[in-house]
């Protein structure tokens, strides 16, 4: 399984196998679509979590906050997902796609990995204590865990 390594100056690098590139690209594309085509809140727990209320005790304040911030928040999520997608179309050597990120690219990746994990967690029905229901789809579960591993290596890479 591929992992991120430090590239210095807050950057990071990884070499992904073709299968990994395909999954990550599909997910980033789906995330951008999900965010762009979102409809009313409350019908999709993933959207609800990606765009949470800024005020929990006052519905009017929450609605107003949402009015002011949701557009920019959505744009940012789509932009980050597209950045991830673009970085996955880099050079391939020895059957591996080399991804090299500067500090800004790392920021986009960390945010997109987070949004993907939040979305998958909603689909899997991850419980409050972090338990992933064993009845959930095994492939989705494996991808969720893998994205967590990848994110962990990325945080480690820029922390060292």
């Amino acid at each position: 399984m591929s992992r991120f390594e430090s590239a210095g100056a807050g950057g990071a690098t990884a070499r992904f196998a073709a299968g990994e590139v395909r999954i990550l690209s599909d997910l980033a594309r789906q995330l951008a679509d999900l965010v762009e085509n979102r409809t009313d809140h409350g019908s999709d727990p993933a959207i609800e979590r990606l765009f949470p209320d800024g005020y929990r005790k006052n519905a009017d304040d929450a609605a107003e906050f949402r009015r002011y911030t949701e557009g920019d928040l959505a744009d940012g999520k789509v932009r980050n997902a597209r950045t991830v997608l673009a970085s996955l179309s880099g050079p391939t050597r020895r059957w591996r796609t080399h991804v090299t990120l500067d500090a800004a690219g790392v920021g986009s990746w960390l945010r997109t990995l987070t949004d993907l994990r939040l979305t998958l967690a909603a689909r899997l029905g991850v419980e409050r204590d972090g338990t992933v229901p064993s009845s959930s789809d095994a492939v989705t579960r494996a991808i969720y865990e893998w994205l967590g591993y990848l994110q962990e290596t990325l945080v480690e890479a820029i922390d060292t």
């Binding site: 911030t69 928040l73 939040l118 967690a121 967590g148």
Partner: protein
């Protein structure tokens, strides 16, 4: 396995002389290492206090949502 923020606690960013508080809620998905990185890179420190009034708290909440953290704000005495 990776660590997740599974402790029932919230991060409270408040100022004694300000009437608003930003809360970053515990969530079972985000990795503790990532949440730490967010606090350090955004606030410049890990898990301590920030100061500010309502507008500043709104900026913090908006930024936390940008990082995928579950944050909200309320009056400090609420």
């Amino acid at each position: 396995m990776v660590d997740t923020l599974d402790r029932p606690e919230t991060e409270q960013l408040s100022a004694l002389d300000q009437p608003w508080v930003t809360l970053v809620w515990d969530d079972p998905v985000n990795l503790m290492s990532y949440v730490s990185w967010v606090f350090r890179s955004y606030f410049g420190f890990d898990r301590t206090e920030a100061t500010g009034g309502r507008e500043e708290m709104e900026r913090h909440v908006e930024a936390m949502h940008g990082f995928g953290l579950w944050a909200s704000m309320q009056k400090a005495d609420a």
